[in-house]
Symmetry: C2
Subunit: 477 residues, 2 copies
Amino acid sequence: MTTKSVAELLSEDVKLQDVTVKGWVRTFRANRFIALNDGSTINNIQCVVDFENFEEALLKRITTGAAIEVMGELVESQGKGQSVEIQVKSIEIHGDSDPEAYPIQPKKHTFEFLRENAHLRTRTNTFSAVMRLRSSLSFAIHKYFNDNGFYYMHTPIITGSDAEGAGEMFRVTGLDPKNPPLNEDGEIDYKQDFFGKETNLTVSGQLEAETYAMSLGKVYTFGPTFRAENSNTSRHLAEFWMIEPEVAFMDLAGNMDLAEDFMKSVLSYVLKHNREDLEFLDKRLQEEEKKLPQAQRSPMNLIDKIKFVVDNNFKRVSYTEAIEILRNSKPNKKKKFNYIIEEWGADLQSEHERFLVEKHFKCPVILFDYPANIKAFYMRLNEDGKTVRAMDILFPGIGEMVGGSQREERLDVLKEKMVALDIPEEELWWYLDLRKYGTAVHSGFGLGFERLVMFTTGMGNIRDVIPYPRTPQNAEF
Amino acid sequence: MTTKSVAELLSEDVKLQDVTVKGWVRTFRANRFIALNDGSTINNIQCVVDFENFEEALLKRITTGAAIEVMGELVESQGKGQSVEIQVKSIEIHGDSDPEAYPIQPKKHTFEFLRENAHLRTRTNTFSAVMRLRSSLSFAIHKYFNDNGFYYMHTPIITGSDAEGAGEMFRVTGLDPKNPPLNEDGEIDYKQDFFGKETNLTVSGQLEAETYAMSLGKVYTFGPTFRAENSNTSRHLAEFWMIEPEVAFMDLAGNMDLAEDFMKSVLSYVLKHNREDLEFLDKRLQEEEKKLPQAQRSPMNLIDKIKFVVDNNFKRVSYTEAIEILRNSKPNKKKKFNYIIEEWGADLQSEHERFLVEKHFKCPVILFDYPANIKAFYMRLNEDGKTVRAMDILFPGIGEMVGGSQREERLDVLKEKMVALDIPEEELWWYLDLRKYGTAVHSGFGLGFERLVMFTTGMGNIRDVIPYPRTPQNAEF
């Protein structure tokens, strides 16, 4: 008699064999049908109990959430909805679950309630599906890069640099918080701190990834990044995971090709490997949206939307073209946008991005060649002297999914830019070294992993796609 | 004419074709032979220049570290050491490298020097090989778990809990460092900090991983962890990466099986996929050790040592047996140990671990069933009431590679232990919930990733196996 996972049992061809399975009770119906789940699949295995053969005291302990071990015979199912079931011979209770106290009842819970019980929420179908998909997407990402000759690189989390410029940073310190040492000027003496200087949590591994691209050729990061911004929205986390590939000798066109191929490959992977979870989440979303007025519903269902991205070319549009389109658009002329687009140089808001993706092009869009002054210092200045080789990839329903650029490889131009933006050379001497010794065209992009998980699962709140979200006033668990 | 990587070119069967390759000059010999590397392999491709056909000004710019693009014909090599080479037709210089200023000269540099130039050190054979292996090991880890039905889980980096107990923590804060807000008691008012409480950098994702194991069945983490310990040694980092699998319904014996199978699988992967890098590092280590007296040299060379682990069973030895062996050992009797083992209950030092692994058993050893009072609160108490179901896996040359245990699944026993150790229940209410609702036997372990990279690469200093090491007084780059 072998112990098997529910996923294994449900995919068994051979019937009529003795099996053991361990998991948690989802429901126990009519003193007869146990729906047992062990996390290996969204599906439960039905365990049929002949209650006359079991003590009532035991049967009473088979409650939602209880951990049990079931031994029995795997047979073809008599009922609908499953091909096999277990005719139970014996049951062992591993851990009880008091039905009065157990928070995860077999009924619909709000996501807010489940966030407060984030340690138990993967015991629901929705969150187990989301987290299996999150895991599968992670693997698809590593596999894509590994298959394509990229090296995975762990960039530092604690950084002494605050020049990354992507946002507000958290300070990391070992100093006495109440009586920090002061220097002669009366300022905090960070020389006495653990690292001998002020340190923060990284906002991006890009600059370090560039150092490795300029020797190993193709690298990527996949690690946590941080923003100390007081944004209490459904789209922001203080701690989130980011993927940042960086490639030597690759220009912006190559960068677009890479990003598009990467996104399609990763999404194809989950279409192939996570079908049942996607179908569950697809149905969930449709039911959710039934409550909304027609106009607010998604134009495509979840799986179709993913397939659409996989099957269609991303539309490549310059910033300048996009501004023209937006300026002449109905919502701009009728002043329906909160920010009216009046002239070239305007920063695009998510309402504009969504208009381009969802109304105008109706497909993923790569915007490129942005005005230099709304983009980061390290982006390659074009010959026109006013735009940079930046790109953003916009997805339906999500907005910006990827941000990237060709990097400024010319020492003099980079230095000028740093002077203009008050970025001290001493802090980025090593970054400048890359332009002194064997510099070359190179490019890369960043992808917020949680955005990708939201897109793939159809979840509307970023707090629901990461195990333990960190947000203002919340670092529970 | 297609652009190919050096790795692709060196594995080409078809000869006599026009190719383009881009990379960095390692050496330029006799105004004729360029050794070009692009990071895709430890090997360089030889590019043969007929100097009479090129301008001298161009040839002068072909210096170590310069980024160049070579176009030419791929032909069978006339010289030794490579099967193919490129007969160069044209060269384009992408980025010069001033030979007077470039730090990475074609000569032996000390690792200390290279640490100060960590942004350039992957331009050397040794560090490119180490970092390719690091990447390959990472992928092998993800692949192993994915193939075996585990879900990858991102546990939080910023934690509000300080009960993990694995070591000193770094504080994460957004408060004004000079004038932090105080509460009525004159203490720092962390309610006004970003997360509304005191937060730190995680020392382990285990407790959170347990929550997911108890719903998804088999999970693992692979993420950064932190120790604010002032240990300036060749074996400690303030920031390092850890792998922590956690499995429901698995006891300590299963945990040992998993850890052994996992280690063997991951090492087999690099033996198969990273042969050339391993051979280079193997040779490097042998040359390094030639300088040492015979007694201090490794008994096995690098690849043999890895193979030995793959091919041999790990010896499983109880703590109690180990103490007997150590007590009766020569170095104990002759008082050669710094810490003499006198009685049961003593904590083992690395000198004892190394004796067991390297002198006594001469193979990887799994020690298990340690005294409860030298191990963590969450470890499963044995029926003897004095030992816990802990295990440490000891490797030759490295010492402890893995530490794990079966977890205490009994609510009452766990609570008692927490009371005894002054761990507040309020802080770990969610951890206790796992024992209230559907508790079950479960186990897991932690593996310090850099230890594994050290073992696999033969590098002696942990600072040399992570891109940008964080140690006391050092957070450069």
